[in-house]
C-alpha cells in the first residue's frame, strides 16, 4: 500500500535549480533511505514533505491526500536532537503529540522505559549523552500521531561506537513498531544495514539516479557488517553514487 508519493517534483531557489522531476513512492511500513552528495537537496525534499517549502512543480501525496505546503502531516527527527532544554525528557517526547492534540504520558513513559531511559524520564536534556538524546528524539517522533517519520541524518553527530549502538537500537525498535520511515544518511553501511530500499540522488538538479533494493533478510544483526555480501552491496551502492559525480 502506497503511503507517500512524490510526483515529478521540481524546486528552485532563485536560479539555483535543486530538484528536477523527482519522483518516488514509499509503502506503508517500509524503511527507505535517501543517499546523495552534500547539497544535493535531501533536506529540501524533507522540507517539502513537511510543508515548510512548497514545490514549484508536481505534487506530494500522503495517504491519497495532496499535502503540498501543508504542515503537520509527518513527524520528524533532525540531526541535532532538538529537545527543548527547559522541558524534562518526558515533556519533550510528548511534544509531537502536544502540537497535534492529545497527550498520552503513560505510553510515553512505557516507551522511554523500553528505550532504557527509565532513569531519565524526569531529567533535563543536558543531563543526557548524545546517544540518549537521539533516542529521546526518535521516541518523540514515534509517539507523534502522524503516519510517516522523516529522519534527517539522525546519527551523523554521534561518535562511531555510539552510532553503531544507535543503528542496532533503531533497527530493533523499528522491527517492533514497523513505522514507515524515510531516512537521510551519508553513510552507505548505515543505509544498507537499516533500509529496505535506498534512493540514490544525482547531483543537482537532483533526481533519483537509482532505487536500490537492499537484498538482506530481516531480522538483521550486527554480524551483517562483516559479511561478504554486505561488502558486495556496499561496493554496488558506492559505484552508483560515484558514477553520479
Amino acid at each position: 500500500m502506497k503511503l507517500l508519493t512524490l510526483e515529478s517534483i521540481g524546486k528552485s531557489f532563485g536560479v539555483n535549480q535543486v530538484l528536477n522531476d523527482l519522483q518516488f513512492t514509499i509503502d506503508q511500513g517500509e524503511f527507505v533511505s535517501i543517499i546523495g552528495p552534500s547539497g544535493s537537496g535531501k533536506s529540501t525534499i524533507f522540507n517539502m514533505i513537511g510543508g515548510l517549502l512548497t514545490p514549484d512543480e508536481g505534487s506530494i501525496v500522503l495517504n491519497g491526500k495532496r499535502i503540498n505546503g501543508k504542515r503537520g502531516s509527518i513527524s520528524y527527527m533532525p540531526q541535532s536532537s532538538s529537545l527543548l532544554p527547559w522541558r524534562s525528557i518526558l515533556n519533550n517526547v510528548v511534544l509531537g503529540q502536544e502540537l497535534q492534540g492529545a497527550v498520552d504520558k503513560d505510553k510515553a513513559i512505557a516507551m522511554l522505559k523500553k528505550a532504557g531511559l527509565e532513569q531519565f524520564v524526569h531529567a533535563y536534556p543536558h543531563e543526557l549523552s548524545g546517544g540518549m538524546k537521539q533516542r529521546a528524539a526518535f521516541i518523540r517522533a514515534l509517539l507523534s500521531p502522524q503516519p510517516l517519520i522523516l529522519l534527517d541524518e539522525p546519527f551523523s553527530a554521534l561518535d562511531e561506537l555510539t552510532r553503531a549502538d544507535m543503528q542496532r537500537w533503531l533497527l530493533d525498535i523499528w522491527e517492533q513498531h514497523q513505522p514507515t520511515i524515510l531516512f537521510v544518511t551519508h553513510n552507505i553501511e548505515e543505509a544498507l544495514f537499516l533500509s529496505d530500499k535506498i534512493l540514490i540522488l544525482s547531483e543537482k538538479p537532483a533526481a533519483i539516479k537509482k532505487s536500490y533494493d537492499v537484498p538482506f533478510q530481516r531480522p538483521r544483526n550486527e554480524d551483517l557488517f562483516l559479511e561478504e555480501t554486505f561488502l558486495q552491496s556496499k561496493k554496488e551502492v558506492y559505484h552508483y553514487l560515484k558514477n553520479v559525480d
Binding site: 513537511g50 515548510l52 504542515r71 533532525p78 527543548l84 532544554p85 497535534q100 533535563y124 543536558h126
Partner: protein, 255 residues
C-alpha cells in the same frame, strides 16, 4: 556575572579598603564635612536620620517598584507585538533605539507640562527608562531561538502561536532576564529623577533638601541608598531567574 556576585568576597574587601582610604584621607586633610564628609559621618547620619529618611526611602521604593512592573509589562508586550508582526518590527525597532537618545531629564519637565504633578508623569518617566532594555532583550531572545529548534517545531506541525508560546518565549527567558535585571536597577534611578518632577516624599526630594541646606552627608546617604536599593532589586531578580531558568544555568555549568 552572576557567579562573580556570589563569590564577591574579594570585592567586598576592595570596597572596604576604599572606604578606609577615604576615611583616612578625609581625616588627614581635615576636609570640611560640607565638602566631603567621611564615611563614618555618613554612616552616623544614616543611622541618626533613619526615622526621617526611611519615609523617603519607602516612598521611592514603592514608586520604583510600580514603575518597574509597569515598564516590564509594557516592554514585554511591545516586544511580543513587534516580534509577531514583522512589518511593525522593521518600522518601529529603529525608532525604539532612537528613542533611547531622547534625554529623559530634558523631557521630564515637558511631561509635567502635559500630565501635571500626579503619579502619571512619574510613571511615564520610569516606564520610559525601564521598558527599553526589556523590549530589546526579549526581541533578541526571540530572534536567537536556534534555527534547528524552529525547524523541528515547524516540521512537527506547530502553528505560529505554538511556535511562540512553546518555543520562542521560553527560549528567550534567559535573555529576557538580563533585560529585566538592567531595568530593575534603572527603575530606582528613574524613580529618583521622576521625584524631581514634584513629590512630597522620596529620595529625590530628600536629596534636593539636603543639598539646599548644605548637608552633603545626607546627599551621600541618598547616593548609597540608591545603590543599595538597585543592588537589592538586582539580587531579587537574580533569585527569581535562578528559580525560573534553572535549566540554563545548570546547562552552562556542565558544558
Amino acid at each position: 556575572m552572576k557567579k562573580q556576585f556570589l563569590k564577591g568576597w574579594s570585592s567586598l574587601f576592595v570596597l572596604l579598603l576604599l572606604f578606609i582610604i577615604w576615611e583616612v584621607a578625609v581625616r588627614l586633610a581635615d576636609t570640611p564635612s560640607w565638602l566631603l564628609p567621611s564615611p563614618a559621618a555618613i554612616f552616623t547620619e544614616a543611622i541618626t536620620g533613619w526615622s526621617n529618611f526611611s519615609i523617603h526611602l519607602l516612598s521611592t521604593v514603592q514608586l520604583a517598584l510600580l514603575g518597574f512592573i509597569l515598564g516590564s509589562v509594557f516592554g514585554l508586550l511591545t516586544a511580543m507585538v513587534l516580534h509577531l508582526v514583522p512589518f511593525l518590527r522593521e518600522a518601529v525597532y529603529p525608532l525604539l533605539i532612537l528613542s533611547q537618545n531622547i534625554p529623559i531629564i530634558v523631557l521630564a519637565p515637558l511631561l509635567v507640562i502635559w500630565f501635571g504633578f500626579g503619579l502619571l508623569p512619574k510613571l511615564i518617566v520610569i516606564t520610559l527608562v525601564c521598558f527599553f532594555p526589556i523590549t530589546i532583550a526579549a526581541l533578541d531572545g526571540f530572534r536567537q531561538t536556534p534555527q534547528d529548534l524552529k525547524t523541528y517545531m515547524m516540521m512537527a506541525g506547530a502553528n505560529r502561536k505554538q511556535l511562540f508560546w512553546k518555543l520562542e518565549l521560553p527560549f528567550s527567558l534567559p535573555s529576557l532576564f538580563s533585560g529585566i535585571k538592567i531595568s530593575a536597577t534603572y527603575s530606582v534611578m528613574g524613580a529618583v529623577i521622576s521625584e524631581w518632577l514634584g513629590a512630597k516624599t522620596g529620595i529625590g526630594v530628600y536629596m534636593t533638601l539636603a543639598s539646599s541646606s548644605f548637608r552633603t552627608d545626607r546627599v551621600f546617604v541618598a547616593i548609597f541608598a540608591i545603590m543599595l536599593i538597585s543592588l537589592l532589586f538586582f539580587a531579587i531578580i537574580l533569585i527569581a531567574e535562578r528559580k525560573l531558568v534553572r535549566w540554563r544555568s545548570i546547562e552552562g555549568e556542565t558544558k
